[in-house]
């Protein structure tokens, strides 16, 4: 019996077998003879992984090649993992049901610190040794990429190569080089040397002190390969729709936001290119929903033109056009009229103007009041996102959150004759991240998180009709420790996995005691990583060159301490340094 048959036999016994069965529309032709293949791995469940835009883009790029094929693998649920082990089946790709171990390249997309343990979970099931140095020529070259490549140190020992930055060009290059290297029976080290020469590729084993790794950037985003035939999930996934990326980067410069600095320079696509791509995606998938996706969609220069054209197309084809990630300051009455949603989402992030200036979230009180436009248009639910534990935060700032809620209720009442709106307040804990002006900041202590959460809950409980949710303090501490970690954390992650850590991003699976024990067993503490860093202290990720200079980040940090804001990049260049990595199209 072949592996596929054996695998299909156990599928009826697991939850949602459609996660693993494959056969999605727009899957590649499995009969095409290829020279090399790559398995894209996403260390979370199918429903999450299928919603990842990065994987879909890279997958299509590889599958568009004559001689190469891309397949996928997501983290199997715990029930399937158990069955795989019991039935002696290694982890298989979704498309051809081929063991990961037999691919030319295995590439992990790492987008979130709490997925680190699941990298090992997948390697373990795939029967691939954890550490790159334990893998000889008989194994695939195992690489990583994705947003966490901002600081690859905590997971660097698991990978032969790590793509820092955008993978559209470099991933395919890697696949070609490895395929050729394997054909010529080169030593693994020789292959790695060739990979190291590529811009954006970090080869931990060959790294020499003092070297800088330049982030890979798609300079010509307008003409870069764009997603046209996304896979259509067979079972419902988290984002079950076509997603259109309007631009990379962000002009706002919020000081806590890693993506806002990491994805610079800002590169916008023309409305023509966006429209064209949207139509291709909708026609090739049959999706009935299209979402516009960028770091701050409503700031897109050609939004009005694009929206007009898309609205027309979507009306005619019964497609629902969703506009997520709206900033209050760019909110216009017309935007609400078209959509049929009853709930709006806004992120003021901090409760007072003073603190919003510190974090450079340039949203003023008057602008928050603009939600009245939505209330007038018939909306009666508002979701508000805040953070707590921001640098310089006091209880006054927490009180400010409750004040905003009260004010919005007041506005609603005056417009809607005394009724109250549904207001949800979601408050995350601030996590200092690499490649931001706050990369030196301390995270507040575990006890302080609890105290602040209780304080805010107390304040909000006095206001009628408010729903309050918050992030777990435990996962916030772990995420912070891993985000600014160094290579010593590789051992901690292995230890945590050994002790049972899996799916740490899922509340029902997260095991706080396991992670505490893992740090302890390795002679480390999380506090060592969540503390404030001296400005003179070398940082684990200093060797990564994102374009944005350390001097600029430092300057921004100092400005934040003085409560001085920085203007939006659209109003003029602030000199962050990203221009060295390509043209900023909003200038």
């Amino acid at each position: 019996m072949d592996l596929k048959e054996k695998f299909f036999e156990i599928l009826p016994e697991v939850e949602k077998p459609g996660r693993y069965s494959g056969g999605e529309w727009n899957s590649p032709d499995l009969k095409k003879p290829v020279k090399g293949d790559m398995c894209f791995c996403f260390p979370d469940l199918y429903e999450i992984g299928m919603s990842n835009l990065g994987i879909q883009i890279l997958y299509e790029i590889v599958n568009d090649q004559k001689d190469f094929r891309a397949e996928r693998c997501f983290a199997p649920g715990l029930d399937l993992a158990k069955k795989l082990k019991e039935n002696d089946i290694p982890l298989l790709s979704i498309e051809s049901k081929k063991p990961l171990k037999d691919f030319t390249v295995v590439g992990f997309s790492v987008g979130f610190e709490l997925l680190y343990s699941n990298i090992l979970y997948m390697l373990d099931l795939a029967r691939i040794p954890f550490f790159a140095k334990e893998r000889d020529e008989s194994y695939p070259i195992v690489i990583a990429g994705g947003p966490c490549s901002v600081n690859p140190e905590p997971f660097k020992l698991f990978f032969d190569a790590i793509v820092c930055g955008e993978g559209e060009e470099v991933d395919l290059e890697i696949l070609k080089i490895v395929t050729e290297g394997k054909r010529l029976k080169l030593k693994k080290r020789e292959i790695l040397e060739k990979l190291k020469a590529l811009e954006g590729v970090y080869v931990p084993e060959l790294y020499r002190e003092g070297e800088r790794v330049k982030k890979a950037v798609i300079e010509d985003f307008e003409h870069a390969p764009s997603l046209r035939r996304p896979l259509v999930p067979t079972i419902e996934s988290v984002h079950d729709r076509a997603t259109l990326e309007l631009y990379r980067g962000c002009a706002s410069g919020c000081r806590f936001c890693q993506a806002g600095f990491w994805y610079r320079p800002i590169r916008e696509k023309s409305a023509d290119a966006c429209f064209d791509q949207a139509v291709s995606m909708l026609k090739s998938t049959g999706f009935s929903e299209l979402s516009l996706c960028s770091l701050s969609t409503s700031d897109y220069s050609h939004l009005e033109e694009l929206e007009g054209r898309l609205n027309e197309f979507c009306d005619e084809h019964r497609v629902y056009l969703a506009l997520p990630s709206l900033r209050i300051s760019s909110f216009k009455p017309g935007m609400v009229d078209k959509s049929r949603r009853s709930s709006l989402t806004f992120a003021p992030e901090a409760g007072t103007q003073r603190l919003r200036n510190v974090i450079n979230k340039n949203v003023s009180e008057e602008e928050i009041d603009k939600i009245s436009v939505a209330f007038e248009a018939g909306y009666d639910s508002v979701k508000l996102y805040f953070m707590m534990g921001l640098p310089t935060e006091t209880d006054e700032d927490i009180r400010g959150i409750a004040e905003i809620v009260r004010r919005l209720q007041g506005i609603y009442k005056s417009l809607r004759g005394g009724r109250i709106p549904n207001i949800s307040v979601s408050c995350a804990v601030f996590i200092p991240k690499p490649c931001t002006p706050f990369q030196w900041e301390a995270q507040i202590s575990f006890d302080e998180m609890r105290r602040k959460q209780n304080f805010l809950r107390g304040l909000l409980s006095k206001i009628k009709g408010v729903n309050f949710s918050w992030h777990g303090a435990e996962t916030s501490v772990l995420e912070a420790a891993l985000a600014r970690g160094d290579e010593r954390l590789c051992a901690v992650i292995v230890e945590a996995y050994r002790l049972g850590a899996r799916f740490d991003g899922w509340t029902e699976h997260f095991k706080w005691d396991v992670w505490q024990k893992a740090f302890e067993n390795c002679g480390l503490t999380m506090q060592e990583y969540t503390r404030e860093r001296a400005e003179s202290e070398p940082l684990a990720w200093d060797f990564i060159d994102s374009g944005v200079t350390k001097a600029y980040l430092l300057l921004e940090r100092h400005k934040s301490r003085e409560g001085v804001t920085t203007k939006n990049c659209r109003e003029g260049c602030n000199g962050c340094g990203a221009l060295s990595r390509g043209r900023c199209t909003v200038l």
């Binding site: 299909f8 077998p17 459609g18 529309w25 259509v232 067979t234 049959g286």
Partner: protein
């Protein structure tokens, strides 16, 4: 109204009925088949299915009825070109009105992938889990007949309002046959409606019988 008879194979045997419905809308959109919509506050596409298939089983007799003015031949060609590999179009039918297969189908034929041997279907008691509780049931009345088909065991089971899921009889079947059948060994080959007390194959019903 047009009805497409299709097979559900390979990876698509693991797609649940509800996911199938979502998928069907997308196939029709990709194929650019104009589907009529219901009137009312929340209009929906007029697309109707035969009863759900058990997850994991193959089928060569699934039906979907679509309210469209597109000529049948064009519809079948477009549908085929836009359906994933796990769904194969078998044939098409044209009717004056919705054949309401979901409501009318009363029986289905299944082939079980085990060498045929005569089997006693009297006093067929099964036990299965339903909402966390063990149910014991004598299903003889829902088990119409058994016969040999290409060397394998075939059975006709009640489907629809009175329903017998083929996976639920597996353990009893295995005990009686000394086999080790799994849900992936089940294949649906035909479905029936009841007309004047007689079972009529859906294909025949859609082609020759005047609809009631």
């Amino acid at each position: 109204m047009k009805t497409v008879k299709f097979a559900k194979l390979d990876s698509f045997t693991f797609i649940s009925h509800i996911d199938m419905l979502r998928h069907m809308t997308r196939i029709l959109r990709r194929a650019e088949i104009p589907v009529k919509r219901s009137n009312g506050f929340n209009p929906h596409a007029l697309v109707f299915f035969s009863p759900p298939l058990v997850l994991g089983a193959r089928s060569f007799a699934e039906y979907v009825s679509i309210d469209t003015d597109m000529p049948l031949e064009e519809l079948l060609a477009r549908f085929s070109a836009s359906a994933p590999d796990g769904m194969k179009v078998i044939r098409g039918f044209e009717e004056d009105k919705n054949p309401n297969l979901q409501g009318k189908i009363v029986a289905s034929d299944y082939v079980f992938d085990a060498p045929y041997s005569p089997i006693n279907i009297e006093k067929f008691e099964i036990s299965y889990q339903k909402k966390g509780e063990t149910v014991n049931e004598d299903v003889s009345s829902k088990l119409f007949c058994a016969w040999e088909r290409e060397g394998k065991l075939a059975m006709r089971l009640a489907t629809g309002n009175t329903n017998l899921r083929p996976d639920r009889i597996l353990s009893e079947l295995n005990a009686r046959l000394g086999a080790s059948l799994r849900v992936t060994d089940i294949e649906k080959i035909a479905q029936y409606v009841e007309i004047e007390g007689k079972l009529v194959d859906v294909d025949e019903y859609l082609t020759t019988i005047e609809m009631i």
